[in-house]
Amino acid sequence: MDETLTKDRTVRKSKNEKKMTWSLIKSQSQLIYMSVPLLAYIVLFAYVPIWGWTMAFQDYKPARSFSDQKWVGFKHFEFLFKDDSFLQVLRNTLAMSIINLILGFTTAIILALLLNEIKKVFWKRTVQTISYLPHFLSWIIVTGIVATSLASDGIVNDVLLKLNLIKEPIQWLSEGKYFWGIVGASHVWKEVGWNTIIYLAAMSAIDPALYEAADIDGASRYRKMLHITLPGIKPTIIILLIMSIGHILEAGFEVQYLLGNGLVVDWSQTIDIFVLKYGLAQGNYSLATAAGIFKTVVSVTMLLFANWMAKRLGEERLL
């Protein structure tokens, strides 16, 4: 059904390709009208704001007209890249982002695979509901929970002590080496159920006949997972991966800001916190914009790269 439709469309397209006549426009006028709000929306909210990038090359002072601003060229970019801590901040951002990406993907897919194997609808629903509920909590609450459970009399230390795995409570939040892990784990706890939903949806679209055929061939559960379910959701995985790679420089802000402290600052500070400290809190909007541009450029490059890779590998692409 799908295929015939596309074929039909291409045929028509080739017929009309050369002449863009008034009658054609007229006949499709309703379609054009319908797309106007969308186009306007995109222009207004996605392209007009790019104008604000000019701020990065000025010493921007609010509430002054454009012609009154002082142009300073690449000064703010220089400040960013010359600052000693910026490299460290970049490292932290990338590290935490990659940890989140990998953990987020693997845990969500594994949970989806496991849920897919549960045949009792009641249990499946229960597990799913419990696992996606944290998604609806805001980070400020989640970090509160995390900080409380990691306190010296918190549940984590309690359990470890009871199991005799440690002799003394560990100060989780005072050691830089634990910080990335804590952030990753918090992300998993909060988002794993939510991320699972889309994979479960993709799994439900897999033709049951494939499983039946595999059953007849005597495939085990793991074989079926490996050779039917996983390939079945591969396009979804790739698309989501491409989309997340675009956000590689957005390791988040709230978690690191709310859980960070003086002792772990070398591991916890991300670009966003740096920008808040030296940009927004100082009224230096130009610096904040410069950092934003840097992030955007990196993101777009990564996105295009991932997309190109997917194409080379003969996979589903985003663009």
Binding site: S174, A205, G262, V265, A281, Q282
Partner: protein, 562 residues
């Protein structure tokens, strides 16, 4: 296969669109509810239609609650002057909110003071307006006129809410910085006089040894909070220990400011903390906890002492009072290094230029607003705003003194009651009388001496009697006259300037190295400290000190009362 991604896309677009619709719906909703909360009254209620009703929109730069629509004080204001208020309280981050307001030049009529707004030119100059229309305000601020001028262009933008004093007001409640100690510790030691840091820690150590747990929780000897902008608990103590008042990050000697973070007298304090940590007195979680955890620990009654500003942990202390653990509430001690140093914790309230109301450039009728403020600063209104309605919120005894019954006192501590019966959101930031009314009563109910005594709980009365004091403030030496340029912490470092960047970096270094130094093995302390000092040495501290000194000098020159 192709279908999946397209469906995904369509789904995404629909989601995006519906989200934008929902979001726009949300913002519309808040506006509506904001309107609803302003007391709307029919014009008929105004006295014979003489006053013309008008509404003033007010932005309050901190979190707060809307007064109830039938709040009795706002109703009175409306009846007499026609003015009603539409408050907008801060929700979320102040810098972000101000950024949005400034970017869109979207200002309400009145806004609380903030240097960001001043820099953006969001306030109108007030001096001519006051000269012309507001004789009472002019009189109120007369002695402070020069101080109110903006150091950058000499205009008056903000009407300060605190620090305009009528006489030397009695105070019974100390809000400022001190080394706090549980009353139980002093009681247990037989009410000793504590003057030095060493005595203080000895007391705590002994008490902790004697009572390793309090109500089942392990006793915490000394607590430190260093979280986000509440960082003074770790940073500010050294300047007080050498007998200087709170000047923020600098010590001012003979009119000259210098940072103290890397000085030897600072090292002495942190070394002491390092020893105390090794002795197990400092809370292990001190540097990882957030504000909520800190407050929770204090509320549990297990914390013996800490360095902090009283207002910062006031709610935790109130919770202790509610739990009737009065012996676990705190007394502030003005500690110094040795007894030859005179403590200077208590200071005279200084004019705070970063607080109070300014009229925005968007205000439709600044004259009306200034006239209203001029009317409300008059004594009859001040009594209503600060004390309430006679015989309803307080009573006047035979000697003409204002007093309260226990019920009235409880009301004044009840947040819900206040929303309907006090104009708190307005009073907090509006110009106000401080000190005494012309009849000799205190402007502030809590500062009325006999009222304070009458309100004391038996435990506290007994505690103070043991020391022979009238109020907890008597633990502190009398405050000497402030330097004209005091305090240095209110100096605007100017956003984006070298001075401000250096200050931010120095704070970052302190946040990083001081905990390290305190938690280090005592033998490693010197190593960490030297590293810290050398890191500070790499910063252009001079730019920061120069800015402070420049403003201090400017203040000394222009603020001197001629």
């Amino acid at each position: 296969m192709g279908g999946t991604s397209k469906t995904l896309f369509r789904l995404g677009t629909i989601l995006l669109l519906s989200l934008s619709v929902i979001l726009s719906g949300c913002s519309g909703g808040t506006k509506l509810s904001g309107n609803k909360n302003t007391p709307e009254q029919s014009a008929g209620e105004n006295n014979g239609g003489k006053v013309e009703p008008f509404e003033i929109s007010v932005f309050i730069g901190e979190a707060g609650q809307q007064p109830t629509p039938d709040n009795k004080i706002y109703k009175m204001i409306k009846e007499e002057t026609g003015a009603s208020f539409k408050f907008e309280f801060l929700a979320g981050d102040i810098d972000q909110k101000l950024g949005v307001m400034i970017a869109g030049s979207d200002y309400p009529d009145l806004m609380t003071g903030n240097t960001k707004l001043t820099t953006a030119g969001a306030y109108i100059p007030l001096e001519d307006l006051i000269e012309e229309h507001a004789p009472n305000l002019k009189k109120h601020y007369e002695r402070y006129w020069n101080m109110m001028k903006d150091p950058n262009d000499g205009h008056i933008y903000i009407l300060p809410n605190y620090g305009v004093l009528n006489g030397d007001p009695a105070s019974n409640w100390y809000a400022g910085p001190a080394f706090w100690i549980q009353k139980a510790v002093l009681e247990d030691a037989g009410y000793p006089q504590v003057k030095t840091l060493d005595e203080y820690f000895d007391l705590i150590a002994k008490y902790k040894e004697k009572y390793p747990t309090i109500d089942g929780t392990p006793t915490i000897g000394f607590e430190i909070l260093n979280y986000d902008w509440r960082n003074w608990g770790l940073f500010n103590a050294p300047q007080h220990l050498i007998g200087h008042p709170n000047n923020g990050g600098v010590v001012v000697k003979d009119g000259k400011a210098e940072i103290f973070a890397d000085k030897d007298y600072a090292k002495r304090y942190y070394q002491k903390l390092n020893e105390m940590n090794a002795a197990g007195l400092v809370d292990k979680e001190a540097f990882t906890q957030n504000y909520d955890q800190y407050m929770a620990k204090i509320s549990s009654g297990a914390v013996l002492g800490m360095f902090d500003q009283h207002w910062n942990f006031q709610t935790a202390e109130e919770s202790l009072i509610t739990q009737e653990k009065l012996e676990r509430t705190y007394i502030g001690l003005p500690l110094v290094y040795d007894t030859s140093i005179r403590d200077h914790y208590k200071d005279r309230p200084a004019l705070n230029l970063n607080n109070g109301f300014g009229i925005s450039v968007n205000a439709k009728d600044p004259v009306k607003i200034i006239k209203l403020m001029d009317r409300l600063i008059e004594e009859d209104w001040q009594k209503i705003l600060l004390w309430g309605i006679p015989d309803e919120d307080y009573y006047v005894n035979e000697e003409g003194r204002f007093m309260k019954t226990q019920e009235q006192r409880d009301n004044f501590n009840d947040g819900t009651w206040k929303l309907g019966n006090k104009a708190d959101a307005w009073v907090k930031f509006a110009p106000k009388m401080e000190g005494y009314f012309s009849d000799g009563n205190s402007t502030d109910a809590a500062a009325q001496p006999e009222e304070f005594k009458a309100g004391l709980k038996p435990y506290d009365r007994q505690f103070l009697e043991a020391y022979g004091f009238d109020s907890p403030v008597d633990f502190f030496s009398e405050a000497p006259e402030n330097d004209i340029a005091y305090p240095a912490w209110s100096i605007d470092l100017v956003d984006g300037s070298e001075a401000k960047i250096v200050n931010t970096k120095q704070n970052e270094l302190s946040t990083k190295y001081l905990p390290k130094a305190i938690l280090a093995k005592p033998s490693d302390f010197d190593k960490v400290w030297n590293e810290y000092v050398s890191e500070i040495g790499k910063l252009n501290i001079k730019a920061y000190e120069d800015r402070i000194n420049e403003v201090l000098q400017w203040r000394t020159e222009t603020w001197s009362v001629k």
